[in-house]
Symmetry: C2
Subunit: 199 residues, 2 copies
Amino acid sequence: MKVYVWKHSGNSYKLRVLLALIGVDYEEVMINFRTHEHKSAEYRKINPRGQVPAIVDGDTVLWDSAACLVYIARKFGGDQWLPSAPAAMAEVMNWVALAGGEMQFGLQYARRGLTRGICSAGTVEQMQANGRIALDLLEARLQAHDWLALGRPTIADIACFPYVETAPQGGIPLEPYPRIGLWLKRCKALPNWPERWQV
Amino acid sequence: MKVYVWKHSGNSYKLRVLLALIGVDYEEVMINFRTHEHKSAEYRKINPRGQVPAIVDGDTVLWDSAACLVYIARKFGGDQWLPSAPAAMAEVMNWVALAGGEMQFGLQYARRGLTRGICSAGTVEQMQANGRIALDLLEARLQAHDWLALGRPTIADIACFPYVETAPQGGIPLEPYPRIGLWLKRCKALPNWPERWQV
């Protein structure tokens, strides 16, 4: 299984986390954003969206991080990280979808706006507002729960972790969200949780 | 099963389509956006995100349209609309995730920008650009396939349908996307495909 990533990409980091927690062997392929490799014709044959991560495993080609998480969880993790029972699966998907919505277009793009000057989904203030919708949902959920879904770590937590952790880089301090702070520590304390790439 | 919808909501329409295609009995609860019922304290107990659709079925509470589709498909549709095999499930999720990403924040928000003057994810031009990323992916896929995933209708198609169909209302004509035009017709020809709400 080839996993295409970029070391600064939070969406790539999600896969790195899940693969490490389950203990899956895979081939990591670094796609260099600095040389715009992710927009190259060659890479677009794998991921026509021109983003990372992507997975190629035999005939399976996946170009969305949520789809990649679903694949890894279901193929290598049994029912632990994403159960197949309807209600349990859907409860996890609430949060995986949020990660691809307000977290990507809010938390992540606010960060990209402040750190790289790219504002493709609104002003920084608008992206911060979208991001806070997601943080408010997490904080409320974590009032009475240690994990986002099912009372245990799942891909819900892994999908949400990277861009919540880096929210302050988008000008959204996490001090007003004490439960989120505890949850971030809880995630990082999971056995085999990997560090971000050293850059 | 209670399904909370608003008649002008494309995300609500996704659920209406899947429920009709499978033939599921359910209780429809209309949430009135004109009176801001979706932002009321009472409704936020069900959906803290303040959006539609949502599902309440016994102890199960779902507040994201992708999660709702996953739930309906897995509970009532066997493996037909969302298989449990890893590669097949993930292939479907590529498109379900795209629907929650560039389609929601591009196609749908461009439409909302032009029709209601709300620009919460960039300028109209930026939202149109994000929307075209999604349309380009669909058009390329549909060059050699009748359906977005697995060679048959799945929740991939249902998740993408509503905001692709209404893309022109966001100032994105569909004439440059002939394969998408054929696919829209193919979807609507599925047995029991429901019309949008009459408004």
